[in-house]
Symmetry: C2
C-alpha cells in the first residue's frame, strides 16, 4: 500500500487514514490531495483519523500542512473521528493542532463544512449585491 | 491496526479497505459491521476497495459474505471503486462476485443504494395502499 485513497462525495473529499504514516506516504497524500482538490474543484476535505491510536508531532504537523494547503486552494479541511485518548495525549503533549478544524465524526464534519461554504457563499452574494463594493 | 473503521454517513455506512485482509481482520470487520448495521439501523453499506490491487478468492468470498449478512439484516451492500485491472483479473480467474452489487465509485454507489431503498419504500407504500393485501 503506497497510496491513501481519496473518495469524492459531492463537493467534498474524504480521506481515511488507517495506516501508520511515514514520510513518503505523507508526501504522496499531500500530492494526491492537492491535485484532487484542483481537478475536482472540491470545497471541503474530511480527514478521518478514527483508526489512529497515536497522533504524534509528525502526524500533527502533517494535518496542519494539509489544512493550510487546502485553504490556499480554496477548500476547508476538517479532521474528524479523533479518539478520546488521542485528544488527551495531544493536549498533554502540548500539541493543540492550531489552525486545524476538528469535528466529532464525518457527519458533524460535513455539517461544519456546509456552514463554512454557506457563509462564504452568502459573503460572495453580499459582495455582488452591495453597490459599495 | 486490528480494526477497519466504519464511518456513518446518514443512513449509510462506509468501509474503506486499505490493508491486506487476513482471517482475523475479516472476522473483526464482519463482527463490527453487523453490529453497526443493527445499532445504527443503516439501510446501506458501501465497501470501497479502490486501494486493493489484488482481489483473490478470499477477499471475493468475504465481500460475498458481507453482502449476504447485510441483506439478512435489512441493508444492501455495494462494493465500489474497483480498479480496472482487478476487474480483468477477477473475470479471468472465474470469480464473478455473484450476489455482490458493484458501482464505479462512492457517489454512484450511493445513487444505487438510494434507488434500492426508494424501490423498497414504494413497495411498502403500495402494500399499505392496496386493499388486496
Amino acid at each position: 500500500m503506497d497510496r491513501i485513497p481519496i473518495l469524492t462525495m459531492g463537493q467534498f473529499l474524504l480521506v481515511t487514514i488507517q495506516v501508520d504514516m511515514h514520510d513518503r506516504l505523507a508526501m504522496a497524500l499531500q500530492d494526491d490531495l492537492t491535485t484532487r482538490i484542483t481537478t475536482s474543484r472540491a470545497k471541503g476535505v474530511l480527514i478521518d483519523i478514527s483508526s489512529l491510536e497515536i497522533v504524534d508531532s509528525f502526524i500533527g504537523r502533517m494535518l496542519g500542512n494539509i489544512s493550510s494547503m487546502a485553504r490556499v486552494l480554496g477548500a476547508e479541511a476538517v479532521v474528524v473521528g479523533m479518539q478520546p485518548a488521542v485528544a488527551i495525549t495531544l493536549v498533554e503533549l502540548g500539541l493543540s493542532l492550531d489552525g486545524v478544524h476538528t469535528a466529532l465524526d464525518v457527519e458533524k464534519g460535513m455539517q461544519l463544512l456546509r456552514r463554512y461554504i454557506g457563509a462564504e457563499f452568502e459573503e460572495s452574494l453580499s459582495d455582488v449585491d452591495d453597490p459599495e463594493n
